[in-house]
């Protein structure tokens, strides 16, 4: 149980107080996994840190008799000139572990992180993926009542992500989670209850689905309020992000603006990888549809555009890049090569079935 009593938290920026929480009283029931939602800058991370006892309210109290982890997956607590092993030992010592426990924790982390001989090299030589592996393993090696996770589930490569999610799921059988994430999928998968932070108010929901729904609602409202008039160029996305225009969205998702335009034009289900749906405000808002109709011939380009088959892809690119002189079998031929890379389009193609 975590109890917030009359909690107010603000930051001063340019002499102006920016409130994250304004006189909030709230009790988190025992034994639930909490998802924390809010727009960028709403103070999700600060709220999480306050729950975990490493940040403090400006006034009011937060009380709990539970133990909390450090924000998980955080590589900030590592000393670059020390080796992975030394860093793990350091955290063990902070937690007052004896030699025997330290040995078992080290072997667990070493096995989990799968970084081989890098474990005995200075951390500054690690890639960011290796750092997250190490820190993820380290967090899992300790026993806490609550795990604190700040958008860290998306670190590392696909293989590791699977392993990390599986390990985390096993871990939360014996403890609870406080999670901040932008990924609605992760939130649904892991959390039972949710809070939405919005303009200093904390909205609590018994079901994470309701929290996500409310979050979407405020997302729309805020954007409309901000612009006062409906801005027809604004692009909405089903993961809750809003962009000023197509170019901003394209930049964010590292896609070509064409891909976004294409998704907008289709308006019902998208050609986007990651199954995102975009629409302009003012248009009828279509329901989210997953990309379901694919078979063995469905391909995806590294630019994020999905095609039912090579012919469709070829005609798409021929239409868009008239001066590139793409021949009719171009993509079919590319798919026959080993790299499946089209030097002409600078796009790599995959069969979508490879990702399932």
């Amino acid at each position: 149980m975590i109890k917030l009593a009359n909690v107010t938290k603000y930051f001063k920026t340019d002499g102006e107080k920016k409130y994250i929480l304004k006189n909030v009283s709230f009790t988190l029931p025992e034994g639930v996994n909490l998802g924390i939602l809010g727009r960028n800058g709403a103070g999700k991370s600060t709220f999480l840190r306050m729950l975990g006892g490493i940040d403090f309210p400006s006034s009011g109290t937060i009380t709990s008799d539970k133990s909390f982890s450090w924000p998980m997956g955080l590589a900030g607590g590592f000393q670059g000139s020390m080796t992975g092993r030394q860093n793990v030992k350091f955290v063990c010592r902070i937690y007052g572990k004896n030699e025997e426990e330290i040995t078992s924790i080290i072997s667990y982390v070493q096995e989990f992180a799968e970084i081989g001989e890098y474990f005995d090299m200075p951390i500054k030589l690690y890639s960011s993926g290796m750092k997250s592996r190490l820190s993820f393993g380290l967090s899992l090696a300790f026993e806490f009542d609550y795990l604190i996770i700040d958008e860290t589930l998306s670190v590392g490569d696909e293989n590791f992500k699977k392993k990390a999610t599986a390990a985390l799921k096993k871990k939360i059988e014996s403890c609870n989670v406080l999670l901040v994430s932008h990924s609605m999928g992760t939130l649904k998968e892991i959390c039972d209850v949710g809070v939405v932070l919005h303009e200093g108010v904390l909205h609590y929901f018994n079901k994470i689905e309701d929290a996500i729904g409310y979050y979407h609602t405020i997302n729309m409202q805020t954007s409309v309020q901000k612009n006062n008039v409906v801005q027809s160029s604004a692009v909405y996305c089903d993961d809750g992000r809003v962009f000023d225009d197509i170019n901003a969205a394209a930049m964010f998702y590292k896609m070509r603006p064409f891909s976004i335009i294409q998704a907008l034009e289709k308006n019902n289900g998208s050609h986007m990888f990651l199954k995102k749906v975009f629409y302009k405000d003012g248009h009828p808002k279509p329901l989210f549809q997953k990309w379901q109709h694919f078979d063995d011939a469905t391909i995806i380009g590294s630019d994020g555009v999905i095609f039912e088959n090579a012919e469709e892809a070829t005609s798409f690119y021929r239409e868009r890049f008239i001066n590139k002189k793409i021949d009719e079998d171009h993509i079919a031929n590319v798919l026959l090569t080993e790299e499946k890379f089209s030097a002409l389009l600078r796009v790599k193609f995959y069969y979508l079935s490879e990702f399932q």
Binding site: G52, F56, P71, L74, G77, Y95
Partner: protein
Amino acid sequence: MTKRTSLSIFSSVVFALFLREVQTRFGTKRLGYFWAILDPLSKIIVFSLVKAALMDRSMPGVDYPVFLATGFLTFGFFQAFMNGSMNSFDANRALFVYKQVKPIDAIVSRFCLEFLVMSVAIMVFVGFGMYIGLDVLPKDLSMVLLAVLWLGVFAFGVGVLFAVLASFYETFAKVIGFLGTPLFFLSGLLYTVESLPPVAREIVLYNPVIHFIEMIHGNYFLVLDTQYVDYQYMMYWTIIPLFVGLYFYIKSEKKILAS
């Protein structure tokens, strides 16, 4: 997880931070050990040569290199800890994600490290001095030890106070940094208070550090004495910064953690 007492948490965190500082300072750069000796040694050689070159024959009956060594080693500790304590919050900020780690732990561990470095350096110098036949044994060992320990407490109090102030006023650390060099020359490291003209004497005696150095020198060398050491003044400078520093620290610990 079993509950630990705050004392056991404090000691295990300080110990962990201490080992971490040892590893980072001495682990990767093997020169680290060497440097702790080389830095005072080079200063001793330079100032001894300068004195010889000036044909300065003051302080008869005192081995000037030993005189310099006693001052440089203890003053070096004081200065290193002052600078270390002021950046210890920032240097360890990343570790504040671990709930057990409090800012004061960083100061305490740094204090332990600097004190240990000084102790080891003193032992090395005494051993080396005896080997080459210098008169390195103190006149009154217990008083010298008392002076060094007292200097430690004094440094700790001032260090805590400065660290808290530096965390709120960025320029404060810079001002203290500027004071470092004048302090080196005003702390009686190269001369005794007695050898100064009376007017200068009065001025330098406002500097608390010179009292500690004089106390060490006076009890170390047969021919020197401690007539200018003002124990009461030293006590003020020990107790007031310590308590004011700790009071400010307790008041602002959460602010330091959150900032």
